[in-house]
Every structure is written in C-alpha cells, then in structure tokens.
C-alpha cells in the first residue's frame, strides 16, 4: 500500500522552478533516502509533503488525503536541532510538544500525555534523561529526543531532515540503527548528504536536483560490497552505480563535469 503519492508535482518559490514534474510513490514500511545537491529541492519536497508549502502544479497525497498543515499522522524531525541549546527546557517538555494542538487539559499536562511521552522516550532509549535540560545532552542524544517528540504523535510516517549532519560517526550509526528498528512498523523518509551511511540502511533512494530519479536499492547487499569492518560503502562505487543506471537528472547540463569525471574513470 502506498502512503505518499506524488504526481506531476512542480514548485517554485518565486519565478525559479525548484522542483519540476516530480513523480514519487512511497510504500508502507519503505525506508526512503532522499539525496541530492544543496539547493536541489530536498527540503522543499519535505515541506510539501508536510503541507507547509502548497504545490504550484500536480498533487501530493499522504495516506490517501491531500497533504495539509497539522498532519498528526506524520512525525517530523527538523534540521538543526543544535540551535537554541541555551533554552531552559527539560527533555520531557520537548517530547510533550509533540502533543501540542491536540486536546489539552486547561492547566499543565495530562497523565496519559506524560505516559505517552515517556513511552516515546523509552523507544529511543532516553527515558533516564527525561528531567535533564536539553542543552546538557550530546548532539546524538538530542537527536533521539527529537525523534521521540515525533513519535509522541504515533505517526505512520517519520520524516527526518539531515538527522545526522552534526553528530559524530558513532552517534550517526546509533541513530540509523534506531531508525532501522522503527522501520519495522513505520515508513521512514530521510533527507541526507551522507550517501554511504544512508544507503546502507535505506531500501529506496531518490536523487533530487530539480527533477527526481528513483532507485530501488533493496538488493544492494548483492550489488556491492563494503570495504573493511566499518560496513561503510565506498562512495566512488555508489556514485558509479547511481550514474550508470541512466539517472536523467545527472545528465543535466550543469552536471557535465560530473559525467566527464565518471567517463574518465
């Protein structure tokens, strides 16, 4: 069953087209990686799926309905969770934000809400930190809390924007292991720059640079091998693989140098 259906979608902020004629279907329990250059439209596509932006052309359906603001069935983990770390807020309060907008008691937080938030924290292994100040956590721990906040609404789809951009290698691996676990019951869409790590966990990949090209990489274990014990795919092989499959956006004019480089190899 498909959870996200995007048909002939185009989007422009003002005159310049950011996304052009995008077609994408995300199936239930997919682990989709969205990759592509800076300014290629990755975050814009996420915002369209979240309903924060309206498409200029085409349609987006999330779980059979038009994408709208306030989607309770989508969990969202925004980029840059390392800003505003001076803010005096406890971990549990951050997670409870996932509930804002649903029916609230007049004063404070309901018992069931707190139980739910604690449950979400337990899911990401952060239950012992519920009373800590958010600024006292490490980048990886903070990212887990943000995932817990998204899980607090019991989403069917979890969307993450560059979840590991400012976390050390060990923390990154832990985050992706966590996502793999969550993927057993939730559809996951991740935007990332970190091609080698993301492709290790993702089952589908979409390359976006104004246009989209789609790859099913669920059989990647057979397609290529990892060097040494770090289970880290070689970026060169990955780029060659993605390029050789006739990726239409990669043959675009502004990528000529890229192509030349590949031919030279």
């Amino acid at each position: 069953m498909s959870v996200v259906d995007i048909e002939n979608l185009s989007f422009a902020y003002e005159k310049d087209l950011i996304l052009e004629n995008i077609n994408l279907t995300v199936d239930e329990k997919d682990f989709l990686a969205i990759i592509g250059p800076n300014g290629g439209g990755k975050s814009t596509l996420l915002k369209l799926i979240l309903g924060m932006l309206k498409p200029k052309k085409g349609s987006i359906k999330v779980l059979g309905k038009a994408a709208s603001k306030n989607p309770s069935h989508i969990g969202y983990v925004p980029q840059n969770t390392n800003v505003n770390t001076d803010f005096p807020i406890k971990v549990i309060e951050v997670v409870l934000m996932g509930h804002v907008g649903t029916k609230n008691p007049l004063f404070g937080y309901g018992k069931d809400e707190i139980a739910c938030a604690m449950g979400a924290l337990a899911q990401v292994g952060m239950q012992d930190f519920s009373q800590s100040k958010i600024g006292s956590l490490s980048g990886g721990q903070r990212q887990r809390v943000m995932i817990a906040r998204a899980l607090c609404a019991h989403p069917q789809i979890l969307i993450l924007d560059e979840p590991t951009s400012s976390i050390d290698i060990k923390g990154q691996k832990e985050i992706y292991e966590l996502l793999k676990l969550l993927n057993q019951s939730i559809t996951i869409i991740v935007v990332s720059h970190d091609i080698s790590v993301i492709l290790e966990y993702a089952t589908k990949a979409a390359h976006i640079n104004k246009r989209l090209s789609y790859h099913d990489i669920s059989d990647k274990k057979e397609t290529f091998h990892t060097h040494n014990e770090g289970e880290h795919f070689c970026e060169v092989e990955l780029l060659q693989m993605l390029g050789s499959e006739g990726c239409s956006t990669c043959d675009h004019d502004d990528h000529k140098e890229d192509t030349k480089w590949r031919e030279a190899k």
Binding site: M52, K69, P88, N104, L106, F107
Partner: protein, 266 residues
C-alpha cells in the same frame, strides 16, 4: 530605614517595585528566550511618543504610553512576519521616530515644565494608587496568559516551526508576547524609566537562565531576583540619596558581575 516604611510614598514604591519586578521577570524571560531584546528596546523608546501625546492632549500618561507601545508592538509584529530580514532597520526607525514624536509634542505643549527626566530614568517615589492598580492588573493578565497558554508559548518560543506544524497559531502568540512586553515596558517606566528598562528585563533573566531547567522556573526565579535587585537598589538610593532607577540597574549589574565570577569559578 525602618521609620521610612511609615511614609505612604515609600510603601507605594515597595509595592510597585515588587509588582513590576515580577512582571519584568516573567516577560523578560520570554523576551530573552525569543531573542526579542532589541525589539523590546525599540518599543520602550517608542513609547516616549505616547508620553508626549498624552501630555499634549491631556490624557493619563500610562494610557498614552500604553497605546503607543502596543501600536509599535503590533507594527513590529506585522513587519517581522512579512520582512524578517529587514527587521533591525525597522526597529531602529520606530525607536527614533517614537522618541522624536514625544519630544516635539512636549515642545508644543504650552507652559509644560514637568521634569521629563522622570520618564526616562524612573520616578518610583512618585507612584500613585492608580499606578499600583494598573501594575497589579497587568501582572494579573500576565499570570492568566502564562497559566492558560504555557505549553503553547513554550512550544512557540522553543521551536516555532514545529509548533506551527502541530497546529499552534504562532503568529497569535508572537504578537501576544510583544503586546505583553510593550505593557510591561510601560509599567517599568515608573520604576526604572524607559531608557533603563532593558536592563531590568535582561539582567535578572540572564542569571535565572543559568540556574533553571525549565521556562517556568526561569520566570519565577527572574521575578524573585528582579524583586531583590529592586528592593536593594531602593534602599541604596534612599540611603545615599541617589536616583532610584539608576541605583537599581547598577546594583543589578554589579550582582551579575559577582554572579558570573562565582558561577565560572564553580
């Protein structure tokens, strides 16, 4: 010192100091965590225009200053939501134009020679009973708003994008915080004056932020610390016959310095 407490104007000064300190502690916390300090400074100075208008047309000063401050808050709020990248320019404009309007209207007022310095630097020893009612009413409104909308205001302050995604009306709460900030600035004029108010909104908050784990405790602690500074400042100004507003600010600043030394050494 004790016999001074029997004077009505001293009693008024103490009550006003406590009421305004708590309002400033709560609203100052919101201003600091939302990075609105410069906005609050702009609103504070612009409210001088309201004082000028009130003097010229002969209506109560608090009313004139409140209306002018709230209008500037609304103007800044709508500009911020539309032209965020130029907001510092607009704040600077509102800051200076408001003060200029005040100066011109006071010039135009025939025979007016009340010391305008008291509005710029505070006159806590001249607090009337009506002033106290106004301050108490504002504190009540602030407490009401914070009680009923604490979690929404917390969400908007911490992560406005996420709050908006969860259905919180970010625009409404942003404007509400600015309006409350404007009104707090107006009542603080009596205590420390509109030029010094920014220190009262930030120094206690800065100390409280370091010691707090939640926004609620930060607000409460800021209120307590602001009250302490105000009372010590008042005592200092009474004992050495110095201007009260400036005394309060310098006591606050000296305490902040001592706190930072102690806090770093820990």
């Amino acid at each position: 010192m004790i016999e001074a407490l029997s004077f009505e104007f001293i009693q008024h000064a103490l009550i006003a100091g406590i009421l305004v300190s708590f309002a400033a502690g709560i609203i100052g916390s919101l201003i600091v965590v939302n990075r609105m300090v410069f906005l609050a400074g702009g609103i504070a100075h612009a409210s001088y225009g309201g004082i000028g208008l009130a003097v010229f047309f002969g209506f109560p000063i608090f009313l004139g200053a409140s209306m002018f401050a709230v209008s500037s808050a609304l103007l800044i709020s709508s500009l911020t939501l539309r032209k965020r990248h130029r907001i510092d320019t607009f704040i600077g404009l509102i800051w200076a134009v408001g003060m200029a309007i005040g100066v011109i209207f006071i010039d135009l007022t025939p025979g007016y020679n009340v010391d305008m310095m008291s509005y710029l630097f505070g006159s806590i020893l001249a607090v009337s009973t009506e002033d106290l009612y106004f301050m108490a009413a504002l504190l009540a409104v602030i407490l009401f708003v914070m009680t009923f909308w604490y979690r929404d205001i917390l969400a908007v302050s911490y992560d406005s994008e996420y709050a908006s995604l969860r259905g919180v009306n970010v625009r409404f709460f942003y404007t509400l915080i600015l309006i409350l900030a404007a009104l707090t600035v107006v009542v603080s004029i009596k205590v420390v004056g509109l030029i010094l108010v920014i220190a009262m909104l930030t120094i206690p908050v800065y100390i409280a932020e370091k010691l707090s784990h939640s926004l609620f405790s930060m607000m409460f602690l800021s209120g307590l610390i602001a009250t302490l500074f105000t009372l010590v400042g008042l005592w200092f100004s009474y004992t050495y016959n110095l201007t009260s507003g400036a005394s309060i600010i310098l006591i606050s600043a000296a305490s902040l310095g001592a706190f930072l030394l102690f806090y770093k050494g820990k």
